[in-house]
């Protein structure tokens, strides 16, 4: 009466777990390798980049590739421009959407459900349908070649963020708002003193998503900005690509410079990234 190793449920579980773990390890190598490749390439000499077969580790670490890259194009100007836009967009998105979402979640008024349904349905509209007429609008306002088209809409609410924050406000019991109302607080006061503090985690999520969106926005600047002095990092990198053609070491260094703030943000505030995703799925 010999028992095979697999007959024991415990052993079978163990093997499954091991296979699972190995798969995950293999997968993470797969997922990390592009990033490693970017770092590695950015440190190589052009000769090494072109050598065959390609090397996985740079023979020598040419950190001055980064200095050369930084100096090859006005990255400092691009950075200042991008930071300016990003800050404005984040401030607008956080404040305005929090305000609007409070209204949709906590103040009863006529037509609220219908209006909110409209908010949701605007998320279904393909961006290009409104992009072209918006361009016409901004052109007529004389806003071409300014940051207005990139920044101003952020102060008029975005459907996705309103939805996200409303989801969060719905978890705040109505009774809490009612209690404050009975104590004599106005809705504006409640929004400031109770709404904002209670939705901080969600606001952080919106801030991070907005940061990401503004930082990585390529389409907007491409469409609205012509003046090189107004170029953002994304546009700058695109131009840089044209100038460098296939000098991959500098291109990778440039890419890493542009991606670095997002990567850092991700490592420091990962939980808010994840929270945003969870809020999305909460709305089925």
């Amino acid at each position: 009466m010999k028992q095979s190793y697999f007959d024991s449920m415990k052993n079978r579980e163990k093997v499954l777990k091991a296979v699972n773990f190995i798969l995950l390890c293999f997968g993470s190598l797969l997922f990390l390798s592009p990033l490693w490749w970017m770092i590695s390439t950015s440190l190589k000499t052009m000769k090494e980049v072109m050598s065959f077969p390609p090397t996985f580790f740079p023979k020598e670490w040419n950190w001055d590739n980064y200095i050369k890259t930084w100096e090859a194009a006005p990255f400092d100007l691009y950075t200042i421009n991008t930071v300016t836009i990003t800050i404005l967009v984040v401030v607008g998105q956080v404040l305005v959407n929090s305000f609007v979402a409070y209204g949709f979640a906590k103040i009863p008024f006529k037509g609220r459900e219908v209006l909110f349904a409209i908010v949701l349905s605007t998320m279904m509209i393909p961006g290009f349908v409104t992009l072209i007429p918006q361009y016409v609008l901004f052109a007529n306002l004389g806003w071409l070649n300014t940051y207005y088209p990139l920044v101003v809409p952020a102060f008029f609410g975005s459907a996705f963020n309103i939805f996200l924050l409303r989801q969060f406000y719905m978890t705040v019991p109505n009774e809490m708002i009612e209690a404050a109302r009975m104590e004599g607080a106005s809705h504006f006061y409640i929004w400031r003193k109770i709404g904002i503090p209670l939705t901080k985690p969600a606001l952080a999520t919106v801030a991070i998503f907005s940061f990401n969106g503004a930082w990585n926005d390529f389409l907007g600047p491409l469409l609205y900005v012509n003046d090189e002095n107004l170029y953002t990092l994304q546009l700058g990198l695109q131009v840089f690509k044209g100038e460098m053609s296939t000098q991959w070491n500098y291109l990778m260094a440039g890419s890493l410079i542009v991606l670095l703030p997002v990567i850092l943000l991700f490592f420091f505030f990962q939980k808010y990234f994840i929270k945003g995703i969870n809020l999305q799925s909460g709305g089925k």
Binding site: E178, R181, M182, E183, A185, Y189, L198
Partner: protein, 390 residues
């Protein structure tokens, strides 16, 4: 003059659907009273409370507080404080800030806020918890903070919406006594909503029993217990519930399916006067008015032979689930009794404690001119309890 007058209050949520959440609610409350609104869930009691608070609009009718019409006054200007079922404490504020919040909004000066908060904390035994956040409090402590938040305001009227229903049984018992004590100490007029008739009976100076948005009876706990206005009140107030038997009054006896018994003279006279001879009635009798008879027979007891289905020991008492023929009922007897299921016993019904109700309407049959009531409902409610004993 009454502190609070509610006159013909109606609440309708959806005009298309012709059903009211509250219908023709009339009540006058005197200064310092502790009113309990009680009824099964969905009876409109919370809606009524929220209308008083101003959280819901009054569809029609008038609400006066201290003689001023309040219908259109926003909740913040009503000078009413309220305790919510789930406490509604602000989780990001300390206990101190939670209690001070309302005063800060009203721009009370700092010293005064501090004095009042500390005073309330002392009354409620919260002195050591003032710097904690709600998360770090037990259920009972949260409840106390919610009470504290309401009392620091020194409001005219104190509303409580099922404040104890989130607590476990033991704590509920304890907080019940504490709220009663608090009311005695502060004397603030209070309106308290609950679905628990025990809470109503133990705390109220007057109980308002509601069903389907309509007041069933208003009275002191003793009144509603001893003289339920209708079958619903009889069944709702008191635990275990009143037993009901359908039957007919024939030849001075109450004839029901499977048994009949003599109706005491006084009651019979009343029933005759009201024209219920040879008519169907509902007889109600509370379980504690049915006793096990071991030979000796009290004067006003009607004896019946009944079969025990189940016996249930509650501690101090024993509940006998019994049957006579097809009819089942409960008797509440001393815990020392020893009976076993299936056993036949002799039960004595204390018939001068029995209640008779109209079969059709379920209304209590009493020697009282009901027309008088219809003409001046306010007078009837506000009046000292008339002893309607028959």
């Amino acid at each position: 003059m009454a502190k609070l007058i509610l006159k013909n209050i109606n609440k309708q949520y959806d005009k298309a659907v012709n059903t009211n959440a509250v219908t023709d609610f009339n009540l006058q409350v005197k200064d310092g009273e502790f009113i309990v609104l009680v009824g099964p869930s969905g009876c409109g009691k919370s809606t009524m409370l929220r209308m008083i608070a101003g959280l819901e609009e009054i569809t029609s009718g008038e609400f006066y507080l201290d003689g001023k019409l309040m219908n259109d006054v926003p909740p913040s200007n009503r000078n009413i404080s309220m305790v919510f079922q789930n406490y509604a404490l602000y989780p990001h504020m300390t206990v101190y800030d939670n209690m001070a919040f309302g005063l800060k909004i009203r721009k009370t000066n700092k010293k005064e806020i501090d004095r009042r908060v500390r005073e309330a904390a002392e009354i409620l035994g919260l002195q050591d918890l003032l710097n904690r956040k709600p998360k770090a409090l037990s259920g009972g402590q949260k409840q106390r903070v919610a009470l504290g938040r309401a009392i620091v305001r020194e409001a005219e009227l104190f509303l409580m919406d099922e404040p104890l229903s989130n607590l476990d049984a033991k704590l509920r018992f304890q907080m019940r006594a504490e709220i009663a004590k608090l009311h005695q100490r502060l004397g603030t007029t209070s309106i308290y909503v609950t679905h628990d008739q025990t809470e109503a009976m133990t705390m109220a100076s007057r109980i308002v029993i509601m069903k389907d948005g309509v007041i069933q009876q208003v009275g002191t706990p003793k009144e509603v217990y001893d003289f339920p206005e209708n079958v619903f009140v009889g069944g709702f107030i008191g635990s275990p519930s009143m037993n009901f038997f359908n039957g007919e009054i024939v030849d001075g006896r109450f004839i029901s399916e499977g048994f009949d018994m003599k109706v005491p003279d006084e009651k019979l006279a009343m029933l005759k006067a009201m024209g219920y001879v040879n008519k169907k009635v509902v007889m109600g009798i509370r379980p504690e008015h049915i006793e096990l008879q071991n030979g000796e027979v009290g004067a006003c007891y009607e004896l019946l032979r009944a079969k025990i289905i189940v016996s249930e020991l509650t501690g101090s008492d024993m509940l006998l689930y019994s049957s006579i023929g097809p009819q089942e009922f409960i008797a509440q007897v001393g815990s020392r009794t020893i009976v076993s299921p299936g056993e036949e016993v002799l039960l004595g019904f204390e018939m001068d404690r029995a209640h008779f109700f109209d079969f059709e309407s379920g209304k209590r049959i009493k020697a009282y001119d009901s027309k008088q009531l219809a003409d001046a409902p306010e007078k009837a409610y506000a009046a000292e309890p008339v002893l309607r004993y028959v």
